[in-house]
């Protein structure tokens, strides 16, 4: 009680200083008068009485100070004093302040931005309630893309019933391409992307609709009332956030479908389940409609409270191998396995290492920044050493001086952090709206409480780090020496210079590690860009085409022929073809085997299937190595044919010519008519899988992507291709004419993102290190002006002087580089798994970094050296 009251009163006193001081003065005055009075009563003459009174009272000033300390907030007084003083000195030294704050802002800003990326992707839980209970169920060794990571409806239902680990098991249809629906009713149909989700999908994720309701049970049954849920951005964009849309019917694929609800803004399907893509609508996955299909559902479950992942995994290991893929087709044998992993792990696990590397890189930037600032402050405190000596002589304690210097550095780092926060905010806003970067959760990126806390921590730690060293250095100086020292002429002492050299060496070493890391990642990325994809992305574009064939292959053949024929007639178009799946986008897989052959389990592999028109292979630039392309005469009634890739040819018919042989494809026979070079179908850096190409006249495609190879840049032709498609089918939605290069860019966008960031940081590190070198060398030249003058007067040539300065620079840099290269050698192993086609000890990278650093260091050292050599001995000597 007393303590709280005292604290409150102290605060009051702090804000009423003048009144309290006046009162104290009055009280002290009355004290003296009372004492004088009493002394005079005892017979002293007045002057003696007054003298005695003052002696008894002790130091009046001390009494004042002690009273102030007892009543107010002394630490705050000192702090305010320090702050005022700091602001004054910083204002006086404006160029120093600006440079220091800018450097800090860059370093801290980079740290905040990367922290918020790391926080969003790695540290924060997924944006669902109790998300640590959400599990993704995939196959243990998926080789065939989505098809080998998904399950049939029968298997899903059986697992739903038999498992005891999960509160709910749900799934979504994994084979959705972009723009798979068209929204009619307003002129040109609009392409929209929709995902089919099981009835309990949102309940499992515990996502509540913002408006309306979720799907009811009968909306998920065959012939149920058609229903759709809108995503928040789509609702805002397409329906202008009209709340009355709920309950109304919209025209989807020429069918009226009731909007039952709008999902909340926080739910972004794409950012969790398929990074880099947007989803507009959700419709119920009607299990019955997919009964005769193969694997269709990507599974997600919510564990019951208290059930561990290991227990769920153990149960799945028992259940999955026994699951029947399809009750109506008992012959379908799937050998199911299940790997249960936290959804969070599934979404972000692969990025873990990259993000940690990124985090380390910005951490190193911050270190370099601190070293640089330390150096700047050292130079500054050296210039202010007299001021400090004077203050010490006047009674300032060592702690008080360090406190003052720390206040200064904390104010600098605080200002840097504030500006850095602004930079980070801009960067984060930019990144959050990069929908095309295939990184999960990116749209969730924001500056939150954790980020702010991190900013404060970084500012305080870096402020203390770069402020402490000059502070200690300064306050430990010899008072007398400093006061006696007549100034710039006298040497600064070896110790001081050693410290600055050590700082430069560490800076060079840090920059070296950063550069080596960035160089390795860059080289690896260039290797990735250089990969022979098996197709030719430049000068080709694809557009999703809408047609109605009623499942009739002959009709389809006629429509496709017309489309291709008329598009090829457009000037500038070289050739065109149609496929249902493009490489590096949606995929699915079936089985292929050589007829009459028996295989051990595991010998065969899920094979990616592409259903194509004649001419597609040529249009996208795939290379036919043997045999022929499919042709329009490979019709529904003629013999089934298949084109395989090299890998399948090698595995099924090793050492033989596969052309003309009979393969078993999805249960039927097909003659191998061609072999194409391997295509990177699911990732640029991964190995190509098994692939086969079937003619669309013999197999049922899922949608159609028209691929056009052009003689001119593809986007020039976008409108004429669209116009032609409209002529053929007025119902053609306004789908996008997407360059094939875009698919590749999208596939490598995470790598591009990391490499770009790491390279920017390495560049920043190099710049800061060269600034540091320049600063130190240039400072030492200034310090030694007189010495250089004497040398020149004694006959040293300009070249001698230059060389001595450059040699000094080189010595520092070489030591730094030896340390840095050794550290890089150790550290590069940690990023080895991130590298593609590049060894962690890649000599070219190490060599290039060495040369680059040497070059930059020479440049940074040459400027002061040149200045030194221009010193006029007469002036230098006279100056002092």
């Amino acid at each position: 009680m007393g303590a709280m009251r005292e604290g409150w009163n102290r605060m009051l006193s702090f804000f009423h200083k003048p009144e309290r001081d006046a009162e104290m003065e009055a009280e002290l005055a009355s004290h003296v008068e009372l004492a004088v009075e009493e002394n005079m009563r005892q017979g002293m003459p007045e002057p003696e009485a007054r003298r005695k009174a003052l002696v008894r009272i002790g130091g009046v000033q001390q009494a004042r100070e002690r009273q102030r300390e007892a009543r107010g907030l002394p630490w705050l007084d000192v702090l305010l004093q320090d702050v005022r003083y700091t602001l004054r000195t910083l204002r006086r030294d404006r160029s120093f302040t600006v440079v220091a704050v800018l450097i800090l802002a860059l370093g801290i800003g980079a740290n905040i931005a990367v922290f918020s990326v790391v926080n969003t992707i790695l540290l924060r839980p997924l944006p669902f309630p109790d998300s640590q209970r959400l599990i993704r169920i995939t196959a243990k060794d998926p080789k065939g893309g989505e098809s080998s990571m998904t399950y049939t409806t029968d298997a899903t239902q059986e697992y739903q019933q038999r498992n005891k680990s999960f509160q709910q098991v749900t799934g979504y249809f994994a084979f959705t391409g972009p723009d798979n629906y068209k929204l009619g009713g307003h002129g040109v149909p609009l392409p929209v992307t929709g995902i089919l989700v099981m009835g309990n999908f949102f309940q499992t994720l515990e996502v509540q609709p913002m408006l309306g309701r979720l799907f009811t049970a009968d909306e998920c049954l065959p012939k149920g009332r058609p229903a759709v849920l809108l995503s928040y951005p789509f609702w805002k964009r397409q329906f202008h956030a009209n709340r009355d849309i709920v309950g109304q019917a919209i025209d989807l694929n020429n069918t009226p479908v009731t909007v039952v609800g709008v999902l909340p803004k926080t739910f972004d399907f794409g950012s969790v389940f398929s990074p880099g893509s947007k989803v507009d609508i959700f419709t119920p996955f009607i299990m019955h409609d997919f009964q005769d299909d193969g694997n269709a559902l990507a599974l997600i479950g919510r564990l019951k409270p208290g059930v561990t992942l290991a227990a769920a995994q153990a149960e799945a290991d028992l259940l999955f191998p026994k699951l029947v893929a399809n009750l109506r087709h008992p012959g379908w044998n799937e050998h199911y396995t299940a790997r249960q992993m936290l959804l969070k792990q599934y979404v972000t696990g692969k990025l873990h290492r990259s993000l940690i590397v990124l985090w380390c890189a910005v951490g190193m930037i911050l270190l370099i920044v601190c070293v640089n600032l330390s150096n700047l402050l050292l130079a500054r405190t050296a210039a202010r050493s007299k001021e400090f000596a004077m203050r010490t002589a006047l009674g300032a304690g060592r702690g008080r001086l360090i406190r003052q210097l720390l206040t200064e550095s904390l104010i600098l780092s605080g200002a840097g952090a504030l500006l850095g926060l602004g930079i980070a905010f801009a960067v984060i806003e930019f990144l959050a709206h990069q929908g095309s970067i295939a990184l999960p959760l990116l749209s969730d990126l924001r500056i939150d409480g954790a980020t702010l806390a991190w900013t404060v921590a970084v500012a305080i730690v870096s402020g203390a780090a770069f402020g402490l060293m000059p502070g200690l250095k300064m306050s430990s100086g010899n008072l007398q020496e400093t006061l006696k020292d007549s100034g710039s002429g006298a040497g600064e002492g070896k110790k001081h210079e050693e410290l600055r050299s050590a700082l430069v060496i560490s800076e060079v070493a840090l920059a070296c590690v950063l550069l080596v890391g960035a160089g390795l990642l860059l080289r690896s990325f260039l290797h990735i860009l250089d990969v022979d994809l098996g197709f030719e992305p430049s000068h080709a574009a694809a557009i999703s085409v809408e047609y109605t064939d009623g499942g009739n292959a002959a009709k389809r053949s006629a429509i496709w022929q017309e489309i291709i024929h008329r598009v090829e007639a457009i000037p500038g178009v070289e050739t065109a073809g149609i496929t249902d799946n493009l490489p590096l986008s949606r995929n699915r897989s079936w089985d292929i085997s050589a007829k009459g052959q028996t295989y051990r389990p595991g010998e065969l592999q899920d094979t990616f299937v592409f259903i194509v028109s004649p001419g597609y292979l040529r249009a996208i630039g795939m290379r036919l190595l043997a045999g022929r392309d499919v042709s329009w005469s490979d019709g529904p009634k003629s013999q089934s044919v298949v084109i395989i890739n090299e890998t399948v040819a090698r595995k099924l018919w090793p050492g033989q010519d596969p052309i003309g042989r009979i393969a078993m494809v999805g249960g039927g026979e097909a003659r191998v008519i061609g072999v194409i070079a391997d295509v990177h179908e699911s990732s640029v850096e991964g190995d190509p899988g098994w692939q086969m190409y079937l003619p669309a006249t013999q197999a049922e495609p899922e949608g159609a992507q028209l691929v056009v190879r052009t003689k001119v840049p593809p986007d020039v032709l976008a409108s004429s291709v669209m116009a032609t498609l409209r002529q053929i089918n007025p119902g053609q939605p306004a789908t996008e004419f997407r360059p094939i290069q875009g698919l590749v860019d999208h596939a490598v966008s995470p790598q591009r993102f990391f490499v770009l960031l790491v390279d920017i940081f390495a560049g920043l590190g190099l710049l800061l290190a060269s600034l540091g070198i320049y600063g130190v060398i240039s400072y030492s030249v200034t310090q030694r002006t007189q010495e250089i003058g004497i040398r020149m007067a004694l006959g040293a040539s300009r070249w001698n002087v230059q060389w001595s300065v450059i040699w000094k620079t080189l010595r520092l840099v070489l030591v730094g580089m030896v340390v840095g290269l050794a550290a890089s050698f150790a550290a590069s192993r940690l990023i080895a798994t991130l590298l593609y086609g590049t060894a962690a000890t890649d000599p070219k990278t190490f060599g290039a970094v060495t040369l680059l650093l040497l070059g930059v260091a020479l440049l940074a050292g040459y400027l002061p050296a040149w200045r030194a050599s221009r010193i006029n001995p007469m002036i230098a000597l006279r100056n002092n």
Binding site: G2, R5, E6, N9, R10, S13, E23, M24, A26, E27, L28, S30, H31, E33, L34, A35, E37, E38, R56, I57, G58, G59, V60, Q62, A63, R66, Q67, E69, A70, R71
Partner: protein
């Protein structure tokens, strides 16, 4: 001035001020200082000015109250008096000091080994 005067232990001055006000009622700062000097028989090294830090501290804790008034010789002075919570605090602190000095007395008069 043969003997060295006693230095005041931390907090003892506060207690002395409270006790003085409790026995003598309302008093100004000079009066309190003089009274303490007299009672201590001039054994305490007291810079009279230090009393004001103590007074402001006690006042801010709510143990004493202050009011400007006039002395018998018509001089303006700030008069202090102890409050109810001040008396409670005094009782507590006095008991503590009593115990401490008893213990100190016993410890310091401990007989040398073998004397028992």
């Amino acid at each position: 001035m043969g003997e060295v005067k006693l230095d005041l232990l931390q907090g003892t001055l506060d207690l002395m001020v409270l006790q003085t006000l409790a026995t003598l009622g309302t008093l100004h700062g000079y009066g309190i200082a003089r009274r303490i000097e007299q009672v201590s028989g001039d054994e305490i090294l007291l810079n009279q000015g230090t009393i004001y830090a103590s007074l402001v501290r006690l006042q801010q804790r709510g143990w004493i109250s202050a009011e400007w008034g006039t002395s018998e010789n018509n001089r303006k002075a700030k008069y202090y008096s102890i409050t109810k919570s001040g008396r409670k605090q005094l009782a507590k602190d006095a008991a503590y000091w009593q115990r401490l000095s008893n213990v100190m007395g016993r410890v310091l008069s401990m007989p040398a080994e073998g004397e028992l």
